[in-house]
Each structure stands twice: as structure tokens, then as C-alpha cells.
Amino acid sequence: MKTEQLERYFKEYYDLVYRVAFAQIKSHADTEDMLQEVFVRLLRYQPEFESNEHEKAWMIRTTVNLCKDLIKSKWHSTTVNIDTVPEEEKAYFKVPFIEEDDTLWAVLELPEKYKNCLYLFYYEDHSIREIAQSLGMPENTVKTNLRCGKKELKNIIKKVR
């Protein structure tokens, strides 16, 4: 892979990968490590992408899978609580173009299957097809997750209030 190509990937997906990883891990330091890991994978495997959509999907899928591995790992599961976003970490997570509110933090508290669908749909402007491709699930499952996630989100917000 040429340096220019790597730089293009970096510029295009650095923020997206950071946000997707943070949504899973909820820690700035771990997210930065994860980000490096994703690009190391890209360098190591050098996958051939058919389209921009495929490229994006690969990035998101790799990030989500690596984050899952980290969360499952003994080290992480025995040392870190990842249910809520700690106050000191919130400053590191900013979604561009959208005004920040409590709904965003409530979305990040949802169970993984709902969280990923809702986050990608509403905050990353992905279509249902793109989400299905990135997360490797049927489109109808994505729609169901969006509906159920919305209900769950309402419950979380009610509890907080």
C-alpha cells in the first residue's frame, strides 16, 4: 500500500473509526489504541475494496469486531466497567454536525445490537442497507433493532428523569 493511499484512508476514516470504537469501549485511551490497531490491520491485510461503501463497511466491521474482542478479553472484563460513559471521557466524544444532548449518551448505554444500529443510523447518517452491510445482518433485522432500540431508549430516558 502506498503512503498516499494510507493517508487517504486515514483522513477519511480516522474520525469515523474513533467514534464507532468509542461508542463501544467508552474510553479515550482504549479507543486510540483500537484506532491504531484497525489501521495496522489495514496495513497488514491490505484488502481490495470494490467501492467506497465496501471500504466504509470494512472499516466499521473491523472496528466493531476488534472492540468486541477487547471487551471480551480477560483484561478488559476484569478491570473496566463499560455500561455508562464516564463524565471525564465525555469531552473526547463529539459527533460533528449534530448538537450534543443527553439522548446521545443514552444511546451509548443501550445494548450492543440496538446501540450500533441507532448510532450509525441517526448520528453517522448511514442508510439501513449500509448498516446491514457493516454489521453483517439482514436489513429487516436492522429495522427491527431501530424500532426496539427506540423503545429501550425511551425507557432509559424515563429512568434518568
Binding site: 489504541d33 489501521f39 495496522v40 483484561w75
Partner: protein, 295 residues
């Protein structure tokens, strides 16, 4: 000449310059019409809620004559619409001037200002996956509108002037991040995965996980071995019990089948036992007398 009083009235108006009372007669007509339909207008006019429409705007008739908005929409000329559905342009968040996320309603609104003809393009994405595009003509939008698309258009129009994007900052951010990544890769290639202090040694996350897995594996092996041992002991105990039981059962069966023979053998055995006991008794008695003599 006077025909039903029409001719003279209009002529009189022309001379005096007074306004025609046609509207009032029209109002009376509409009132009587709606009276016959649902009898509502009397009370409404008493309360002063609805005044009769003095202009030709068909929308103001909606309340007054209780006409459904759908019906008005069909009558209304196209030029009056503030929101017109148009083809979807698929604008991204970065391209849009304003983005509004409404998870509770299941919608995302993206808006883009078109300064040339003072219109705002609003794109609505629903959770079902449908995307619709609307063109909003700002000059016709009322400020206190309740229509979410019109509200979005107004908000975007007001916001558009304020936002300014600085590209220099973004570029420097990229360069920093790239430099950081290059350093990371260089370090990784030279020194391998990052390590951290655990007690007296340094371990990477992978090594730590490997170590823990090993320990867990060993513990599981020990547990399994212990369980197997306990099983074996229990099995051997059970076997002993079953041997005793089986011996008894065999003996009983034998007794039942060859009762007499065994009985005889039993008596013979008992005789032997009795003679043995008798011999041992005499030996004991002799030993006692010997010890008494020694005394």
C-alpha cells in the same frame, strides 16, 4: 325600471361610492348553509371565535366553514404551497447546513440553504428507511408555523449565516494524527506490542490474556483430575458393595436350589467349627492350669 330591486341598488351604490353589501349577503348565505348542515355557526358567531373570511384566502375558510384541509389542498392553487415535495438529492451531514435528529419520532432532518432563490431544501429520513425531499419557499413561511419541515427550514436559514468552517484546523489535526500513527507503527515494528508492568515482569495484553488462559486451563485440569479421582473412589466402593451383595445372592440361590446338600455341608462345617471351638477350650483350660501350677 326595477326588477327585484337589483338595478336600483347597484345604481345607488355607484352614485354614493359605498361598498357593496354582497359579502354580508354572502355571509348570510354561508351561515344559513352551514346551519342546515350542522347548526354550528350560531354559537360560533356568538362567541366571536370565527369571523367570516373577509379575504379570498381559501385557508381562512377552513375554520369558518369546517372544511377539511385535504379538500382545501385540492382546491388550493400550486403557487400557494410553502412546502413542495421534490426529488431526493441525498445530501450528507457535511453538505447540509443544519441537521436535526429526532429519535423519539424516528426522523432525521437535513437541510441545505439555496441562497439564489431563497429556498431551503429539507431531506427527511425515517426509521423505515424512506427518504423524502422537500423544497421550502421561505417568503411564504410563517414564523409561528407548526409544520416541522417549515420549522427546520426557518432554523436553517437563520443558522446558515452564522456557521463558518475552518479548514486549516482540520488539516493540522490530520497531520498530527498521521504523525502519531507513523510513530506508533515504527515503535510497534521495533519493539512489538506495547507492554505494561505486572508485578516484577512486563507483559503485553496478549501475553497477559495468554497467561490467564493458561492458569485457567491448569485450574480446570486440576478440577477435572480431582473429579475423576473422586469418581474412581466412589466406583470402587460401589463395586465392593456389589460384590458382597452378589455373594449373598449367589449363596441364597444355591441354598434354594440344592437345599439339602448345602444344609449337610453347613452342618458338617458347623461340626468342624464346634470341634475347633472344643479343642481351643481344652487348650485354654490346660494353659490356665499350667499357669496356676507355676504360681
Amino acid at each position: 325600471m326595477e326588477v327585484n330591486g337589483i338595478g336600483s341598488q347597484s345604481f345607488y351604490e355607484k352614485i354614493t361610492g359605498q361598498k357593496s353589501n354582497k359579502k354580508d349577503s354572502g355571509n348570510e348565505f354561508y351561515k344559513s348553509l352551514s346551519d342546515t348542515m350542522d347548526g354550528k355557526t350560531e354559537t360560533e358567531s356568538e362567541e366571536g371565535k370565527y369571523n367570516s373570511p373577509q379575504n379570498t384566502d381559501i385557508r381562512s375558510w377552513v375554520h369558518y366553514y369546517n372544511i377539511s384541509p385535504k379538500a382545501v389542498h385540492t382546491i388550493e392553487p400550486e403557487g400557494e404551497n410553502t412546502v413542495v415535495e421534490c426529488s431526493v438529492r441525498k445530501i450528507t451531514y457535511a453538505e447540509s447546513d443544519n441537521v436535526k435528529v429526532s429519535i423519539a419520532n424516528g426522523y432525521v432532518y437535513k437541510a441545505q440553504v439555496n441562497a439564489d432563490n431563497s429556498t431551503v431544501y429539507v431531506e427527511q429520513k425515517s426509521e423505515e428507511g424512506t427518504v423524502k425531499g422537500y423544497e421550502v419557499e421561505l417568503s411564504k413561511v410563517k414564523e409561528d408555523t407548526n409544520n416541522p419541515i417549515e420549522q427546520m427550514a426557518l432554523e436553517t436559514w437563520n443558522k446558515a449565516g452564522e456557521s463558518s468552517k475552518s479548514t486549516n484546523n482540520i488539516d493540522s489535526k490530520w497531520d498530527e494524527a498521521l504523525l502519531q500513527f507513523y510513530n506508533f507503527v515504527e515503535d510497534r515494528v521495533k519493539n512489538g506490542a506495547p507492554k505494561f508492568q505486572v508485578g516484577g515482569s512486563e507483559l503485553s495484553i496478549d501475553e497477559w490474556n495468554h497467561l490467564l488462559e493458561k492458569i485457567d486451563g491448569n485450574l480446570d485440569d486440576i478440577k477435572n483430575q480431582m473429579a475423576e479421582r473422586i469418581k474412581k473412589i466412589k466406583e470402587s466402593q460401589d463395586n465392593n458393595k456389589t460384590d458382597e451383595i452378589s455373594e449373598k445372592v449367589i449363596l441364597e440361590l444355591l441354598r434354594n436350589r440344592t437345599g439339602n446338600d448345602i444344609a449337610e455341608s453347613d452342618t458338617a462345617e458347623s461340626d468342624i467349627v464346634e470341634s475347633d471351638t472344643a479343642e481351643s477350650d481344652t487348650e485354654k483350660a490346660e494353659s490356665v492350669t499350667k499357669s496356676e501350677k507355676d504360681f
